[in-house]
Amino acid sequence: MRAYAELWPAHPRWGVWAWWAQRVSGVALIVYAAWHIVTVAGASRHPERLAAMLQTLRHPMVAGLLLVGLAYHAANGVRLVLFDLGMEWMRQRRAFWVFLAASVLIAFAGFSRVVPGR
C-alpha cells in the first residue's frame, strides 16, 4: 500500500513547523545536556574538561544558540501545556507569536546573565 513513510507534512502550516522546532530543539538540548552532565559528573577526575566546558559556554555564540533553543522549547512547551489543559486560544497563530516573543525576551535575559560583559 505504501512503500515509504511520508516524512514531509501533508499540510505544512505554522503549527506543524512549531512542532518540528520543538522536536529539533529538544533533541539538540538532549545532546547538550548529556555532554554537560557527563562533564560535570566527571569533574573530580577531569577538572580540565569542566573548565573547558565552562569556557565554551561563555562564548557568545554558544550561549546564544543554547539559550534560544532552551527559551523556545520552554515557551512553546508552556503554550502546549496550556492547550492540553483546555485553553483553545493557544491553538491560534497569535498565541504562538506571543510565546515566541516571550522566549526571545527570556533568551535575552539569560544572555546578559551568562555572558560576562554583555
Binding site: M1, R2, A5, E6, P9, A10, H11, R13, G15, V16, W19, L80, F83, D84, L85, G86, E88, R91
Partner: protein
C-alpha cells in the same frame, strides 16, 4: 464564451497512477464534481470516481484538489485560484482505480473502537433521556456530524507514518460514544483509545480539524480524550492506594 479549465486527473491503478489532462468548459457555479462528470460523459467514459448526494452529506466524493482534501461536490472551480485543477485520490488508502479507493483501512479503524451504541443492561421501563442542554450532549455537539468521508484520515500526518493509528474519525466517533451515559462500553473504548493504536500518537497538528467538511474538530476531541485518560489514570493510582 465559456472558458476551458484544465483538469489533471489521476488515472490508473495503485502503482501506476499518472495524471491525465482534460480541458473542461467552465460554467458558472461549477464544482469539481461537475467537472469530473463532464469528463466522464463527454471526454473519457473510462474515468472512475465516487459520488452520490452531490450535497456534502454522504461523503462519497472526497478527493484531493490541488493537494488539499476536499469534497468534490462542494468545491467550486471559481474558488480554486490555480489555472489547473489537479484531482487525486485521498492519501493513505489503497487505490482501486483512478479516484476510487478501498476504504477498508479507514473502516477497520472505525470498527476497532466499537462504533455502535452498546446498551447497558436494562430493557423496558422508561426510555432514557438525554437533555439537549446536558453537559454530555453539549460535549459531543460539535463532533456528531461525521459523514466518514475519510478526509481527516487522509490529511493526518500520523496516519502517514503509521497505518495502525486509529485516526481522527474513529477516535472522534469513540469520543461521542464514551460520553453517552445511556451506554455501556465507555471503559472498553477508553482502553482502546489508551492503547498503542490510540490517542497518544496524536501530536495535535490540526490538519484534520482544518479540513473537515462538516466542521468537526477531531483535534479537540482527541485532546479531551487525553485529558479523560490522564484523569482516569490518576484516579486509578490514588484509588488503588486509598
Amino acid at each position: 464564451m465559456t472558458r476551458l479549465r484544465r483538469f489533471q486527473v489521476a488515472r490508473g491503478g495503485a502503482a501506476l497512477q499518472r495524471l491525465q489532462t482534460y480541458e473542461v468548459p467552465e460554467e458558472e457555479r461549477m464544482t469539481v464534481l461537475d467537472g469530473l462528470l463532464h469528463i466522464q460523459r463527454h471526454l473519457d467514459r473510462t474515468l472512475a470516481f465516487r459520488f452520490n448526494c452531490r450535497a456534502a452529506m454522504c461523503g462519497s466524493c472526497a478527493v484531493r484538489v490541488n493537494g488539499v482534501e476536499r469534497l468534490a461536490c462542494s468545491t467550486r472551480l471559481s474558488a480554486i485560484p490555480d489555472a489547473a485543477v489537479t484531482v487525486e485520490p485521498l492519501r493513505h488508502l489503497p487505490v482501486i482505480r483512478d479516484l476510487m479507493l478501498d476504504m477498508e483501512p479507514f473502516f477497520e479503524a472505525w470498527r476497532a473502537v466499537q462504533p455502535a451504541f452498546t446498551p447497558s443492561a436494562t430493557v423496558g421501563g422508561e426510555p432514557a433521556r438525554i437533555a439537549p442542554d446536558s453537559p454530555e450532549r453539549r460535549a459531543i455537539a460539535l463532533h456528531r456530524e461525521c459523514i466518514s468521508c475519510g478526509i481527516c484520515y487522509s490529511a493526518c500526518d500520523i496516519v502517514a507514518l503509521s497505518p495502525r493509528f486509529l485516526g481522527p474519525a474513529a477516535m472522534t466517533r469513540a469520543f461521542c460514544l464514551v460520553h453517552d451515559s445511556r451506554g455501556a462500553g465507555a471503559d472498553a473504548r477508553l482502553d482502546i483509545l489508551d492503547g498503542e493504536r490510540g490517542c497518544w500518537r496524536c501530536h495535535t497538528h490540526g490538519s484534520c480539524a482544518n479540513l473537515c467538511p462538516k466542521g468537526l474538530d477531531p483535534t479537540l476531541a482527541i485532546e479531551e480524550i487525553k485529558r479523560m485518560l490522564a484523569r482516569r489514570a490518576v484516579k486509578q493510582l490514588f484509588g488503588a492506594r486509598g
